[in-house]
Amino acid sequence: MRKIDLARKPARPRQPGPIPLSIPPDPVGRLAAPLDPALLQLRGALLPHRRRLWLRRLVRRTWLALALVAMAELGLWTLARLAPIASAPLIAAILPVGGLAGWMIAAVRARPALGEAALALDGEGRLGDRASSALELAVEFPESAGPGPDPADPGAGSAAGEATEADRFIRRQRRDALTAVRTAPAGLFAPRVSRRPAAATLVAALLLAPVLLVPNPQDAVIAQQQQVREAAERQAERIDQVAQDLEARGQDVNDPPTKLAQELRDLALRLREHPDQLDANLARLGAVEDEVRAQTDPANEQRASSLISLSRSLSQAATGTPDANRDGDPKTTRADLQQLADNLDNLTAEQQRDLAQQLAGLEATASQADGASGTARRDAAPSRAQGDTAGARSAIDRLGQSLTGAQQRISTGRDLAGAASRLQDARRDLADAGQSTAGQAQAQGQGQSPGASGQVRVRVRVRVRVRVRVRVRARGKVRVRVRVRVRARGKVRARGKVPSAVAAPMPGRSATASAATAVRPGRPTPTGPRSSVPTCPRSTRRSTGSASPAIRPTWPGPAATARPSRATRRVPAPATGR
C-alpha cells in the first residue's frame, strides 16, 4: 500500500515578479490630429517631469556605472595579484572607457516615455493615477480624444446615452488630471544618491587603494616574461641572420647549410610564435644545435691547417720558390700546379726527381688535409717518377681540384661550426633571460619590495674548475696566454683569489694560455649585469689565433675547473610601478 506523506507539501512554484508594467502610450503617436487641447496641455505639463525623471535616471545610472567600473577594477587588480596579467594596465584603462560607453548607451535607453513620466508622477506625486489614466483613456477611447463639444452650444449637452456620459467623464478626468499635474510639487524626481551602488563604489574604491598601492609581486613575473619574449625575438633575429648567412653559402637545396638554414628559419618562426615557451624553445634550440654539431667535423680546423700547409708546400714544390704561396691558399696552389702541369715536358729529369721527392714528402700532410688530395698526390708522385708525363699531368690536375674541394668542405665545416656556436650563444642568452629575471623575481618575492628603489645585493658563489690539457707541437717560440673574462652588467666585485683560469679551445683553434686574471680581486669590472665565466666556444672565438698549425688541442673541450670566487653582485632592481 502506498504511503502518503501528509506532512510533505508540494513544491512551490517560482514566485513571479511584479505585475508587468503597462506603460500608457503617448496619444500624439497613436492618435490622429486634432487632439483635445486639454490633452495637449497635459502632454506639455508632463514634459518637465519627464526631463527631471530622465535626469534622475541618469544620476542613478552614473552611480551604477561607477560601481561596476570600480568593482571591475578591483576584480582585475585582485586577479592581477594572483596571476600575471601583462595586459592588466590596458584592461584597466579600457574598463572606464567601456563604463563610459555603457553609461551613454544606458542614458539613451533610460530616456523615459511620456507614459512612464505619467506613471512616475502619479506614484511620486500621489495623483491617484490621474495622469496615467488620462493618457490611457485617451488612447482607449479615441472618440473622446479629439476636441470636445463647444460648451456654449446648447445642443451639445443634450445628447444622452452611455457614450456621451463616458465622454463627459473622460474629458472631466482629463481636465482633472491636467490640474493635478500642474499643481504637482516641483521638487519631484530630484536626483538622489543610489545607496547600494554608491556603497559598492565606496567599498570598491577603499579596497582598490591598497591593492594598487601595495607592490604587486606579479610585476616581476610579467617583467620576466617580457624579457623572455624580447630575448626570444632577439634570438629569432639572430637565428634568421645565421640562416641567411648559411643560405648564401649553400649551393643547392640538398646542401647541408641550405637544409640547416631552412631548419633555422623554422626555429626562428617558432620562437616568434611562442616566445613565452621558454623551456620548449630552449629544448628545440638545443636539439637543432646538437644536430648541427653532429654534422660538424671536429677535425675540421686540423684539416684546414694541414690544407694550408699542403697548399704552401705544393706551391713551393711547383714553383721551386721557397716563399711561394706563404698564405697556403689552395687556389694559388691550384694555379701553380696547373702551371707545373703545363711545364712538365720542359722539366729536366733532375727537376722531375726533386719534384717527385717533394711530393712524396708531403704524404702525412696530404693525408691530414684531405683523402682525395692524398690520393692525387700519391698518383702524381709515381707518375712523375716513372716519367709518365700524361699521367702526372692528370694527377696534378686532380690534386689541384681536390685541394679546391677540400677547401670548400672545410669552409662548410667552419660555417656549420660557426652556426653551432651562434646557436649556442642564442640558447645561452635565452636561458640567461629566463634565469636572471627569475632570480630577480625570487629576490623581490622574498624580501625586497618591488616598488622600492635601490639595489639587490646577491651573494653568488661561483665554483668553477677548469682543467685543460694542451699538447703543443710547434716549432719556434709559442706564446700561450690564458684569459678569463667575467662578463657582467653593473658592478661586480670579486673576492678571493681567481687562480689561473683557463679558457679551453675548440679543436683546431688556437688556445689562449696566459695566466693573467681578467677579474682582479677586489676590483669591479665595468661591464653588464651578467656574471659568467665564458665557456668554450666564446672563449675560443675570442682567443688570439696566433698558434701554429702544429698545435693540436685535445677534444672534447674543457673539463672546467675554476677555483671559487665569491662574488658579490649588484643587480639593479627592476623598475616599479605599473
Binding site: P112, G128, D129, E136, A166, F169, I170
Partner: protein, 338 residues
C-alpha cells in the same frame, strides 16, 4: 411595508462633481446618529451606491441595525426589516399568493413580502435555514422575485443589508458560498473606541434623541448608481484588480505563500467586479474621475474577505481571510517605474 415609490419623483441630472458632495451629505447625516465607524459607514454607502448588497458582521450592540435604520431615514425610500429566525419560511420573505374575495369571486392575489422595499435589513441572516436564505438569491442578483411562476420586479434602488453575529453560532446556518458571493462587501463592525463610546453615551442616554433627516431620495441614489458605473478605469488599474483576484487562488503563480498554504478556493469573478465597482465609488467619493490602484487596494478587504475559503489547515491554525488578503496586497505590488 412603507410605500414610497422613488419612481414617482422626477429623475435628477447629477453631475459627477456633485456625487461626492451628495455622498458626503449622506455620510454626514448618518454620522449624526452613528458615532465614529466612518469606515463602516463609507463601505455600507459604497455598497448602496454600487447597486449591490452588504453583509455586516459584528457582535450585538455595535449599531448594525441602527446603521441600516439611519440610512433608511436619510434616504427617502422604502425600508423593511426582516428578523431571520429558524422558523422563517421563504414565503415570509418573498410573499405569497393568498385567496381573496374580489367582486364575489375568490381569486389568488400576490401578497408581496418584506423583500419588496428599497432598503431591506436581513437581521441575523444566519439564523434562518438555508432554504430561507436562498430565497434571497434571486432578489439580490436579479432584482426580481418569482412566485408561482410569476415574476415580480423589485423597485430600484434595492439594497439588502444583512447582519450576522459571529458569537452565537449555536443553531445557526452559515451562509453558503453562493449566497455570500452575492454581497458586494462583507463589512466587519468594529468595537468603537473610547472616545466614540463617550459620544454614544452622551447621545443615547439623554433626553434628546438625535435623529437623521432625509437628504437624498431614492431617485438620486439611482442616479448616483448610474453615475458610478460610468466612471472610466484605465487598463493598468483593471489589470491590477485582476491580479489581486488571481492571487487569491492557490494554484495561481502570483499567489503568495499564505494563499498556497491555507486557502482552498479564491474569489470568483464577482470579486474582481466588486473591486472595480467599489474602486469607482471610492474614486468619486475622493473627488476623482478615474479609478486608482489605491482605490482597488482600499476596497480589497471588504470585497474579498467573504470570497476566500480557507482550507482545514488554515482554519485549524486560526488564519483569517484578512491576513490572507493583506499578504496578497503585499505580494501584488503595483507596477512602478524607476
Amino acid at each position: 411595508m412603507t410605500a414610497s415609490s422613488p419612481t414617482d419623483q422626477p429623475t435628477p441630472q447629477l453631475v459627477p462633481e456633485a456625487f461626492a458632495e451628495r455622498a458626503q451629505a449622506i455620510e454626514r447625516e448618518v454620522g449624526r446618529v452613528i458615532v465614529g465607524q466612518t469606515a463602516l459607514v463609507r463601505q455600507t454607502l459604497t455598497g448602496l451606491l454600487a447597486n449591490s448588497h452588504v453583509l455586516l458582521e459584528g457582535v450585538p450592540g455595535l449599531g448594525k441595525t441602527m446603521l441600516v435604520r439611519t440610512i433608511a431615514d436619510v434616504i427617502d425610500c422604502a425600508f423593511n426589516r426582516i428578523q431571520f429566525t429558524p422558523d422563517l419560511m421563504p414565503a415570509d420573505i418573498t410573499g405569497t399568493n393568498i385567496l381573496v374575495e374580489d367582486g364575489g369571486q375568490r381569486v389568488f392575489r400576490f401578497q408581496p413580502g418584506p423583500i419588496f422595499a428599497n432598503l431591506v435589513l436581513a437581521d441575523e441572516i444566519n439564523r434562518a435555514t438555508p432554504k430561507t436564505q436562498s430565497s434571497l438569491l434571486e432578489a439580490m442578483q436579479e432584482h426580481q422575485v418569482t412566485v408561482a411562476r410569476q415574476r415580480f420586479p423589485l423597485e430600484s434602488p434595492f439594497f439588502v443589508l444583512a447582519t450576522q453575529n459571529p458569537l452565537e453560532m449555536e443553531g445557526t446556518y452559515p451562509l453558503p458560498e453562493a449566497q455570500l458571493d452575492r454581497f458586494l462587501f462583507k463589512v466587519m463592525v468594529p468595537f468603537p473606541s473610547e472616545e466614540d463610546l463617550v459620544a454614544i453615551m452622551e447621545r443615547t442616554t439623554g433626553n434628546e434623541a438625535v435623529t437623521a433627516s432625509k437628504v437624498c431620495t431614492g431617485a438620486e441614489i439611482v442616479e448616483m448608481q448610474r453615475l458610478a458605473r460610468a466612471v472610466p478605469i484605465a487598463p493598468h488599474v483593471t489589470a491590477y484588480a485582476v491580479s489581486v483576484l488571481a492571487a487569491t487562488h492557490p494554484d495561481q503563480p502570483r499567489a503568495p505563500g499564505l494563499v498556497r498554504d491555507y486557502v482552498r478556493y479564491g474569489g470568483s469573478p464577482r470579486g474582481a467586479q466588486a473591486l472595480v465597482t467599489g474602486g469607482k465609488i471610492y474614486a468619486l467619493l475622493d473627488g476623482r474621475f478615474n479609478v486608482s490602484i489605491d482605490d482597488i487596494r482600499a476596497v480589497a478587504l471588504p470585497s474579498l474577505r467573504h470570497r476566500i475559503i480557507l482550507n482545514f489547515e488554515g482554519e485549524a491554525e486560526g488564519i483569517t481571510s484578512e491576513a490572507v488578503i493583506r499578504s496578497i496586497l503585499d505580494a501584488v505590488v503595483a507596477p512602478t517605474v524607476e
